[in-house]
């Protein structure tokens, strides 16, 4: 079985500031890491390999040279090879242009690595918070999709996917090949062993430029291919008028809170 894992390098949202569409992370950006939900996609790929050592995992991302780190994380854990789509022509892509570029690359990689049975993505990126690329990629490739995956199991010519819904865990089957996006779950994500980690630091990352993809329509990539544009980005407004309640007992604090909420007609 052939698995393609699509990941994204994102800035550490707790620490760094936003620097534009982060398919183009600025060089020297303070800290960035593999997108949190992608870690669960990576874990699912590793589990498929646990179940069947014949599984081959190819990791792919689109970004600047900095995004190599996300690919090395994949190599350290389970990926057999890694590809970075990196070209100034890809800068300022929105999700539609990004997913288009990925889809062309995936078709090209299928010639080299063999056709993919499963394409795994994180459900959404922590910087743009969109969750677009997985379903859009499925559409460009003409493949069925399952979003919000929690677990993936091979069953003959299809996959059984557990997916998260408000009503509970939904179990669906989807034929191969398909795209599954993965959300955070109770899965324990493993750590790489130290040997593999050292190997991954030396491993070759294959760079794919626009010119390497003969089928790429350049009007559909980067700023030209983006259908949405950013007008402005501003800090979220902060709350004002906070009320602190700390009475002599917790019970009285509770009553005070109730009175204040009632008086303000909040309840």
């Amino acid at each position: 079985m052939n698995v393609l894992l699509c990941v994204k390098q994102v800035p550490d949202t707790a620490r760094t500031g936003y620097c534009g569409r982060t398919e183009t992370l600025p060089a020297g950006s303070a800290s960035s890491a593999l997108n949190p939900m992608d870690k669960y996609a990576l874990e699912i790929a590793a589990r498929l390999k646990d179940a069947d050592p014949e599984v081959k995992v190819t990791a792919l991302t689109l970004g600047s040279k900095l995004a190599e780190q996300a690919l090395r994380d994949c190599l350290a854990l389970t990926a057999d090879s890694a590809y970075l789509l990196c070209d100034p022509l890809f800068e300022d892509s929105d999700s539609l242009a990004t997913s288009y570029t990925l889809s062309v690359a995936i078709k090209a990689l299928a010639h080299k690595e063999g056709p993919f049975d499963l394409i795994l993505c994180g459900r959404q990126a922590a910087d743009s918070d969109e969750g677009h690329v997985g379903p859009q990629l499925a559409e460009w490739l003409g493949l069925p999709q399952v979003t919000c995956g929690l677990a993936v199991e091979r069953e003959g010519a299809s996959f059984k996917v557990h997916r998260e819904t408000q009503a509970g865990t939904q179990v669906v089957t989807v034929p191969t090949p398909c795209v599954v996006t993965v959300t955070k779950s109770a899965l324990e994500c493993r750590y790489p062993d130290i040997l593999r980690m050292m190997e991954s630091n030396r491993a070759e990352i294959f760079i794919l430029r626009a010119s390497d993809l003969s089928d790429l329509d350049l009007t559909q990539v980067g700023r030209k291919g983006a259908s949405t544009h950013i007008k402005k980005i501003v800090p979220s407004p902060k709350k004002t008028g906070r009320i602190r309640i700390e009475e002599e007992s917790d019970e009285n604090s509770a009553r005070k809170l109730y009175q204040l909420l009632n008086a303000a007609a909040i309840l």
């Binding site: 800035p11 949202t13 707790a14 936003y18 539609l96 922590a126 918070d129 969750g131 677009h132 379903p135 859009q136 499925a138 559409e139 460009w140 999709q145 399952v146 979003t147 919000c148 557990h162 819904t165 408000q166 009503a167 509970g168 865990t169 939904q170 179990v171 669906v172 989807v174 034929p175 959300t183 955070k184 109770a186 983006a226 259908s227 949405t228 544009h229 950013i230 007008k231 402005k232 980005i233 501003v234 800090p235 979220s236 902060k238 008028g241 906070r242 009320i243 602190r244 309640i245 700390e246 917790d250 019970e251 604090s253 509770a254 009553r255 809170l257 109730y258 204040l260 909420l261 309840l267």
Partner: protein, 333 residues
Amino acid sequence: MESRSNDIWVFIETSGGAAEKAALEALTPGRALADRLGGRLTAVVLGCEVDAAVRTAGMSGVERIIVADAPEFRLYTTDAYVDALAYLVRKHQPDVLLMGATENSRDLAPRLSARLRTGLASDCTGLEFDPEIGCVAWTRPIFGGQLLETLFCPTQRPQIGTVRPGIFHRPPLIAHEAEIIRENIRVSPGDIHTRILELLADPDSGKVELEEADIVVSGGLGLGGPEGFAPVRALAQVLGGAVGASRGAVDAGWISHAHQIGQTGKKISPKLYIACGISGANQHVAGMRGAKYIIAINKNPLAPIFDIADYGVVGDLFKVLPVLTEEIRKARM
């Protein structure tokens, strides 16, 4: 095929034949856009035996209702819904398509946008016609809610956006005549690739859906263990609210991830959010800062949650919650 119109569409997702609240809420900004652009506000109802949804849409101030009512739309599937909406959009050529940012439309909207080769703004907390750019300006939180991004889609149509639940009030119901167009759309079973086998119920779900709830009571590591959710559930129940959780509580295995509020969980904008024993890390705040009112109950007076709380109670949640719950229960009897 009709020629391009100024019509504003709102996709009315249905559940059991009735309209989803988040979809009805999207009619409110839809009305404002239609008035500004001179287009017809159109409700697009998809589902099976959807008379109730059509009636509700008809009383929500729309000019037109497009209905596709067939068994294959009873339960949401990506394939059937994308096929149907893509067909309708190509036939009627609306200018704007709005949806509630529900679980299903997060699956549907990106795929539809790729099929139609147009732009999508997801989970918007604001939208308006911007005369300067001549199209809709979509505002949405990014970067875990720390920043607000304004997007626009200059050339492709329709402009598609999903609207975060709880931001807009649904329009009041009034008697009104709307034109109803019935579309006979069928999707052959062979074109629906996924099959739902079963639903493993979550003990806390089926009560109130987090993303639709007006009131959410959430617990964090301060609860001390899974049993600490008892007073949280009790308060949620008396308020008719849903139960949420911080990443800490979910990672500790006290409650399922479906309840997680934050960057890697749900992002919600209820009217009232009550954070119990939650310190308020950035990744949590990312999921709830859109709440109209925030109440925090925490023993640690320096917890960052107090920086964003409208009402902050410094105290032991196990003493505060039962009294608060009892006060509310007494008042509502």
